[in-house]
Assembly symmetry: C2
Homo-oligomer: 123 residues x 2
């Protein structure tokens, strides 16, 4: 495994890309343990800065990400998880978190109703 440069409290940014469609689904952060768990289990793990803990994508929603390859950038301070996404990546119900242009035009496809998946208390 290449040495990684973790920063900002031991975190590394992770770009999540659909391995078939090449769509960018989301961006999140991982710490060293989350990267190791992702490698060893084949299921995407991240670190939540707000909840201050590791989370497995899909643990609440069922929208897991099966990780095929992990890529590293030239500076070794950013990763790509190439994934097979169950359901949708975004907690809003869109397939990708990047469902709008900077001008506010919605271009994404809504896959599920977040109230039904996460309940009314949010994600």
């Amino acid at each position: 495994m290449l040495p990684l440069k973790f920063h900002e409290g031991g975190l590394i940014p992770v770009i999540v890309q659909d391995q078939k469609t090449r769509e960018v689904l989301m961006m999140a952060y991982a710490n060293e343990e989350a990267v190791r768990l992702t490698e060893s289990t084949g299921s995407a793990h991240y670190y939540s800065r707000s909840r201050k803990k590791i989370w497995k994508k899909g643990e609440e929603s069922g929208h897991f990400q099966k990780v095929g390859r992990i890529l590293v950038d030239c500076d070794e301070d950013c990763l790509i998880y190439e994934v097979e996404q169950t359901g949708a990546a975004c907690h809003t119900g869109y397939r990708t978190c990047f469902y709008r242009t900077l001008d506010g035009v919605t271009i994404g496809e809504k896959i599920f109703d977040p109230e039904k998946v996460y309940g009314k208390t949010g994600h």
Copy 2:
């Protein structure tokens, strides 16, 4: 324009994606002015944390990025620049900065010799 949440010294992470091949080319940071310049000129601008200034991709190498669309994520704290890349995105000469797997296997394609483009003093 959607309101953006800049953090870490007024910066927002930018994922750069080839608009045709959907390949993720690099990740960089932008401040508000860099985003505005990108919008108004159609050429990708970023903010260099080490040099503490705005830079236009390609200003030294000639490897400009013509920006088609800019996408925003659900939290409005991450962007995608969809670009048409001249030459290669990575200063190492590879088309994408993500030219290796986490295991250190090179999967990317080298497009240019960095010494010829940037000189021997680095980028």
